[in-house]
């Protein structure tokens, strides 16, 4: 049995302890804002916050999530107006959009730690998040804009 918090709500899980948090969120809780992309921690589309740290939910087993607090895109901001989300809209970052919740979660975690990151810090922090449409220039610009607004 694993007890955890998801977006502030207490949850109990008694299935396979080796199941990645990703599939618990998507298949058991139907919280599909956290996406599946590679399953091996290489693309970042499944990024969530675990006790405030950005993690790849495909690499976190349910046994490791026990006792911890998970924040997903659905719970990033009560009104869905986190500065990163707002900047994403203002700059028109997405094309297909599939990777963007992971990008946003990663960017939000970066800004929580470093409210005014340098360009190099942005690039380094975001290098684990792939975007096949190639929205990188706008991702960078949106993080810059969100940092200014933060």
């Amino acid at each position: 049995m694993a007890n955890l918090q998801v977006n502030g709500q207490a949850r109990a899980y008694d299935g396979d302890p080796s199941m990645p948090l990703l599939w618990y969120l998507r298949d058991e809780l139907a919280m599909t804002g956290t996406k599946f992309g590679c399953g091996v921690g290489l693309c970042g589309v499944c990024t969530v916050h675990l006790n405030g740290e950005a993690v790849r939910s495909c690499q976190v087993q349910m046994s490791e999530a026990a006792g911890k607090s998970v924040t997903t895109i659905e719970g990033l901001h009560p009104k869905h107006e986190h500065p990163v989300q707002v900047a994403w809209r203002d700059i028109g970052v997405p094309q297909c959009g599939y990777c963007q919740t992971g990008q946003i979660m990663n960017a939000a975690a970066l800004l929580a730690k470093k409210p005014a990151p340098t360009d190099a810090e942005i690039t380094a922090a975001m290098a684990g998040n792939l975007c096949r449409c190639g929205c990188y220039p706008r991702i960078h610009a949106a993080i810059r804009a969100a940092a200014k607004g933060a």
């Binding site: 298949d27 956290t34 399953g39 297909c96 990777c99 975001m126 792939l130 960078h140």
Partner: protein, 769 residues
């Protein structure tokens, strides 16, 4: 354990599509224009290939527009949204423009797959805006007219006294107003006005078109996790499936032991799927499906399967050996595809002949969303949710696979987490339906993992290209022979085509615009051992890369500036009559050549614009260089200049990209810019890393560790986009795809300028180390 055979009957819609398109090319645009019924022709200032597509065009506002009593205007998006913004933003925006609706009060409603109702839905070929700007304007204008008629009737005044103005109709003499919501019911009861009653807006009155101010429709949902892609569909009682597919195309299960898999908690059923013999169109590959209560259980069950495979004849496929086969194919005379003058004689008489060969491998689409689909059947009615580029075509194919009529199946188009051509093929949707059928109609979601996606795709073809250029004593190019060999995607539809089809020939090859008196293109034979599909910009990728690289090679050998030499090769502004010298009717992207000819003036202009903006000729430090390439594809003209820096160790960085596009009239400049920014990244990925290779018939790569994509830290630091400013009278052309082809050659030409090293084999990989 059950045997499950896909339905045996497949229709070859794409082949008949090609037949139709050929017909257009052969009969010419004047005939096409004359064939347009009045209803379509009245506002079609110019003919396009839209009416020649299966199920053509529908403009009826009663199909696309509905208005609630609250004034909310719902506009149907009938095509698939995969990230260009065309389907769910640009086209509804065009309707809203002519309707003079307030965009804030517009809702976009996704249609199901149904081409009889909505017209062609095949979202492919950079066609959406090109084909639908005119019909959607007409649709919106007709709806506006109906609102005006309803208001005039209500007030008992002549129609000439009323005018729609931003979501309300005004009686001009009195200033009385009625909101669209107040008029909706009356307007809906009116007949659709005849064409001669409809008046399009003057372009000077546009609020949205051409402005680039409308945000993409799904921007909020995307940023809060509410946007629903194929992977995200959730139904009550849904089961989750993954499939162990044969490693070699055409392979079959020789033996299966599912005992351990069935013991995995959560696994509910194991199903064998038989492959279809080639040509199999978009049929699934077959294999063994594991159906479980969640994806994780299905994955663990799949790992526990013990399968031996009978690989079949494609086991021989080996990329190293096949490269040699393709090279042999281009080193001998091939099938003549275009011929002008006498190349043999000119090459024999040339003062100098320069020859080079290029090789570009298979690549995989690797959409960030791996394929997925969900299906269920209740009371004989099927429903399928899938991220497919061709919702109407997928509906037909899935219905046939489960043995029902298309009318008995609803195909819900989800958002596509990237398409790039992969999701033109609906194999994954067929899989979901077959497995749901096996579960008595219970909802089943088929999830493809990244490994499934990389190893069981429809791959971009593999290409070998050979050039021979003959120079006269004054170093003018007098002969140009270009041979190309690449397995054709037509092998999905017909047995062993050996040579490219008209679409492949037309993708930046036989339509080459060069000012050389003796030209011949010859295709070499190539047999397909895998599922070759189309990848964003298709054969243009290898053709543009090799052609534009070879032109820069010639420039270097002649000591000429590459940009000046490229412009000389393009020659003076003129229209190239491709049709006169090709052996297969010229495809021209399915368009009437009268509307979309090969115009070298437009190609020159983008090359000059990109060069000027990039400050072509500027002095750069050692290890840095500029490269240029210009290419017409999807009837648009694009030139790209890449500035590269190559380190001592051969690492590439790209400080800047300058890209100029002439896409005719530009409906949404902001989205065009985003497409070209993205194309630079995708172009860099395919140049730097893109390679799918086969050994013993199976793909050697598996995930993003060995099939790398460019990341943010290696992407171009800056991509500047310049859009040629055209009026609405210049036909809108393609945008989604054409940004990709010029990137790789511009990069390779920049690398040559920086290092003197010529790349003749993609990907670049460690060739600079």
């Amino acid at each position: 354990m059950t045997e499950l055979k896909p339905h045996s009957k497949i229709t070859i819609a794409n082949v008949s599509r090609r037949g139709l398109l050929k017909g257009v090319a052969a009969t010419g645009s004047l005939v096409l224009a004359a064939q347009l019924p009045g209803a379509k022709g009245a506002f079609a200032a110019y003919p396009t290939g839209a009416q020649s597509m299966p199920n053509g065009v529908v403009t009826n506002p009663k199909v696309f527009v509905s208005i609630g009593g609250d004034g909310i205007v719902s506009i149907v998006a009938a095509r698939a949204e995969m990230g260009t913004g065309a389907a769910r933003t640009a086209l509804p925006m065009i309707v809203a423009e002519e309707l003079d609706a307030d965009w804030a009060r517009v809702r976009v409603v996704q249609s199901p797959g149904d081409e009889k109702t909505y017209g062609n839905q095949d979202t492919d070929g950079s066609r959406s805006v090109r084909h639908f700007i005119q019909p959607m304007r007409q649709c919106g204008a007709a709806a506006r007219k109906m609102l005006e008629q309803a208001a005039a009737k209500k007030w008992g005044v002549p129609e000439g006294e009323v005018e729609a103005q931003l979501h309300e109709v005004v009686h001009k003499p009195t200033g009385r107003k009625l909101g669209y919501g107040e008029l909706a019911a009356d307007a809906a009861a009116l007949p659709v006005p005849a064409d001669d009653q409809i008046k399009l807006k003057d372009a000077s009155a546009f609020r949205y078109i051409g402005k680039g101010t409308v945000r993409i429709t799904d921007i909020v949902d995307i940023t809060i996790g509410k946007a629903t892609y194929g992977q995200d569909v959730v139904l009550p009682g849904m089961k989750f499936a993954v499939i162990a597919r044969p490693p070699v195309v055409g392979g079959k299960v020789a033996s299966l032991d599912a005992t351990a898999a069935m013991k995995v908690p959560g696994v509910e059923k194991i199903v064998r799927l038989e492959p279809k013999p080639a040509p199999a169109k978009f049929a699934p590959l077959g294999g063994v499906a594991v159906i479980a209560k969640n994806t994780w259980a299905a994955l663990k069950g799949r790992e526990a399967l013990k399968i031996t495979w009978d690989d079949g004849p494609n086991k021989v496929y080996d990329s190293k050996a096949y490269k040699a086969e393709l090279e042999a194919s281009i080193r001998k005379p091939g099938k003549v595809e275009r011929n002008e003058g006498d190349v043999d004689q000119a090459l024999a008489a040339a003062a100098k002949v320069i020859t080079a060969e290029y090789y570009a491998p298979h690549i995989a689409h690797a959409t960030m969303e791996p394929p997925a689909a969900t299906a269920r059947m209740q009371g004989g009615k099927w429903e399928v949710w899938a991220p497919v580029q061709s919702p109407g075509g997928a509906r037909d194919d899935v219905a046939a696979a489960v043995g029902v009529k298309p009318e008995e199946l609803t195909l819900h188009t989800t958002l596509l987490g990237g398409g790039f051509g992969r999701k033109s093929k609906c194999d994954f949707a067929i899989e979901a339906a077959l497995l749901s059928k096996e579960m008595g109609g219970a909802p089943v979601k088929v999830v493809w993992t990244r490994e499934d996606d990389i190893q069981h795709g429809f791959y971009h073809t593999v290409t070998a290209e050979r050039f021979e250029a003959g120079l006269d004593a004054a170093n003018k190019v007098i002969a140009w022979r270009h041979r190309s060999a690449a397995p054709s995607f037509m092998a999905n539809f017909v047995p062993d085509p050996k040579h490219p089809g008209d679409i492949e020939l037309g993708m930046g090859w036989v339509d080459s615009p060069f000012n050389v008196p003796n030209i011949r293109m010859e295709s070499g034979e190539a047999q397909s051992h895998v599922r070759v599909g189309w990848f964003r910009s298709v054969n243009n990728v290898a053709h543009a890369w090799s052609i534009q690289s070879f032109i820069a090679e010639l420039a270097a050998q002649l000591g000429r500036d590459p940009k000046d030499f490229l412009l000389e090769m393009i020659g003076p502004p003129r229209i190239i009559d491709v049709a006169k010298s090709v052996t297969t009717p010229w495809w021209d992207y399915g368009e009437p050549a009268q509307t979309f000819p090969v115009d070298t003036g437009r190609l020159r202009r983008v090359a000059e614009l990109a060069a000027e903006k990039a400050e072509w000729g500027k002095q750069l430090p050692k290890g840095q260089g500029l490269g240029i390439a210009a290419h017409r594809s999807f009837v648009s003209y694009i030139a790209t200049v890449v500035h590269v820096e190559v380190s001592d160790k051969g690492a590439i960085s790209i400080p800047r990209v300058d890209t100029a596009i002439d896409c005719g009239f530009c409906v949404h400049p902001e989205r065009v810019r985003s497409q070209l920014e993205g194309a630079a990244v995708m172009g860099l990925t395919l140049a730097k890393y893109g390679e799918i290779s086969f050994k013993n018939g199976a793909v050697e790569q598996s995930n993003f560790n060995d099939y790398q994509l460019v990341r943010i830290d290696e992407a171009p630091k800056e991509t500047r986009v310049y859009i040629v400013d055209n009026g609405i009278e210049v036909p809108a052309s393609g945008v989604g795809e054409p940004g990709v082809p010029p990137f790789a050659p511009a990069l390779c030409n920049a690398i040559f300028a920086a290092t003197g090293k010529r790349i003749r084999r993609l990907p670049i990989g460690d060739q600079l180390a």
